[in-house]
């Protein structure tokens, strides 16, 4: 299925383009997602999603198929499998950047999503809705945790030495510590960001522990109807 999402980022087109080289900071901005590392050209990612009683843990990879500097277009391929065996997903994600102003960029994401397995049988109408919610949350997190600190790049940076990897968004106990703040980014230094607190805060505010790429949706109702 085809999904289209559009959002605006308060940063220059160059800044946003540069973020494609920092997936380790960007991926955790997606609610429930974590960046696990990279092996050559493949970035390993995980995404925990909970819809009602259905908890899925998707593990997979994302790699760049195309990176057009001139037109600021990227095409990424992602593949992930649910560790519980509920299904899998493959996606081709095309992202286009257009400058709205020197400090504002419009990001257009076009996703060709294929789902297989049990989740796919029930996949359906709510994917688009969930994707939209995720994108909204992602944009908010991106601003709060990556772009705003970047804008203060020359401000004193808090030490970030031993940052734990981003906790899964589905961990119910992830109450953010009141003192946790997005870290400033020292010039010319890539700090691993602990976005768990930020993601946790805004995520709980918005949709609780439910965060998603894949879905069960209406077809679950359809399935249940079939059982009667």
């Amino acid at each position: 299925m085809k999904l289209t999402n559009r959002f605006v980022v308060d940063a220059s087109r160059e800044q946003v383009w540069a973020l494609f080289d920092e997936l380790d900071r960007v991926v955790p901005c997606m609610p429930g997602a974590s960046y696990l590392g990279c092996e050559g050209q493949e970035h390993r990612v995980a995404m925990k999603v909970k819809i009602g009683a259905i908890l899925s843990d998707f593990q997979g990879t994302v790699s760049f198929v195309e990176k057009d500097e001139a037109d600021r277009v990227t095409v990424m391929r992602g593949m992930a499998k649910d560790t519980g065996g509920k299904g899998s997903a493959a996606a081709l994600i095309e992202t286009r950047l257009s400058a709205l102003s020197p400090h504002q960029t419009q990001v257009d994401v076009s996703t060709d999503l294929n789902m297989a397995g049990r989740l796919a049988q029930f996949g359906g109408p709510i994917v688009a809705d969930i994707a939209q919610r995720l994108v909204q949350q992602f944009t908010a997190n991106l601003h709060e945790a990556v772009l705003a600190p970047q804008a203060q790049a020359h401000a004193a940076a808090e030490p970030s030495a031993a940052q734990a990897p981003v906790p899964e968004a589905a961990t119910a106990a992830a109450t953010p510590a009141p003192s946790a703040t997005p870290l400033g980014r020292a010039c010319a230094e890539t700090q691993p960001l602990d976005l768990g607190a930020v993601v946790g805060q805004s995520l709980w505010k918005l949709v609780g522990p439910y965060a998603l790429v894949l879905v069960v949706g209406f077809a679950m109702g359809w399935l249940t109807a079939r059982l009667w």
Partner: protein
């Protein structure tokens, strides 16, 4: 398929239950009648490590209670108990009408109203009824109790504001005025199946074609059930007429975002929901528009 392995708990008090939920959080699922949870578990879409049953918890959870201007339906109260209840019939006659559309008698003898509301399936009738009647949701956890308005409870498809450590102990419906008329209609391929479009209306008629109050909510045609305040306002301001109905239909159309699937296209859902609005009002008021 059979469910994946799980640990089963059947606490005997609400406190013991919330304790378990606090302990296991996202790994726990609450089971009342199981009519929403068990199909998911059978297909291993849901694989909770801990299933916490409320079957042994006595007290308000198993009761329908009318208290002043409110009707409380406890977490363990089944659909059929609500259908049979005289108290419900007098206080909130729309509820049994909506429940009659749900599934089969077998399912209704075990499934619960609160379970249905927690499942928050976008095609379900009861969340729409809860929204239009401005029901209140009573939640309890080890951290205390809280009450949420229906408008704040349903966040999205299968998403509610209930935290994983909370138990919905009861849903509270305001007692309906005697003059209020209710109708609920849906389009479904199988009787008792999940509807592909549905609409419920509660209207209090005035003299001639006037309407003192209108509540309208739809289900199955949007990622989450929707109350339709703009359509309601049009009907109250202009009364019950063909032109106000047309305007309300336009407002309805603007508010919903139906999906397409192999049962029906989004356009069909749009078209049929407008038709249901007209039919539901005609049925509730017992008359065609002026």
């Amino acid at each position: 398929m059979k469910p994946a392995r799980f640990a089963y708990h059947a606490p005997e008090t609400i406190e013991a239950c919330t304790q378990l939920l606090a302990e296991h959080g996202d790994d726990a699922a609450v089971i009342a009648g199981g009519q929403s949870l068990l199909p998911l578990m059978r297909f291993r879409l849901a694989q909770p490590a801990h299933v916490v049953s409320i079957r042994n918890i006595e007290g308000p959870l198993s009761r329908i209670e009318r208290s002043g201007l409110s009707l409380f339906i406890g977490a363990r109260v089944t659909y059929s108990a609500v259908q049979r209840s005289d108290e419900v019939r007098t206080a909130c006659p729309g509820l049994p009408q909506a429940i009659a559309l749900i599934a089969t008698p077998a399912v209704r003898s075990r499934g619960t109203v609160c379970g249905n509301l927690c499942q928050a399936d976008p095609a379900s009738e009861l969340p729409a009824v809860a929204l239009m009647m401005e029901a209140k949701f009573h939640l309890q956890s080890t951290g205390g109790k809280r009450v949420l308005a229906a408008a704040d409870f349903f966040l999205g498809p299968y998403m509610t504001a209930r935290r994983s450590d909370e138990l919905l102990t009861a849903v509270e419906f305001p007692v309906r005025p005697a003059e209020e008329r209710f109708a609920i209609l849906e389009i479904t391929r199988l009787r008792g199946g999940f509807p592909l479009a549905g609409l419920a209306v509660a209207a209090t008629p005035g003299p001639s074609q006037a309407l003192h109050g209108v509540a309208v909510a739809c289900f199955g045609v949007n990622p989450v059930q929707l109350r339709l305040p703009v359509a309601e306002r049009i009907l109250v301001q202009q009364g019950y007429s063909a032109s106000s109905l047309a305007a309300a239909g336009e407002a309805l159309d603007a508010a919903i975002e139906p999906h397409s699937d192999h049962f029906a296209s989004d356009n069909y859902r749009r078209s049929v929901t407008k038709t249901l609005l007209g039919r539901a009002l005609a049925q509730a008021l017992g008359a065609q528009p002026a």
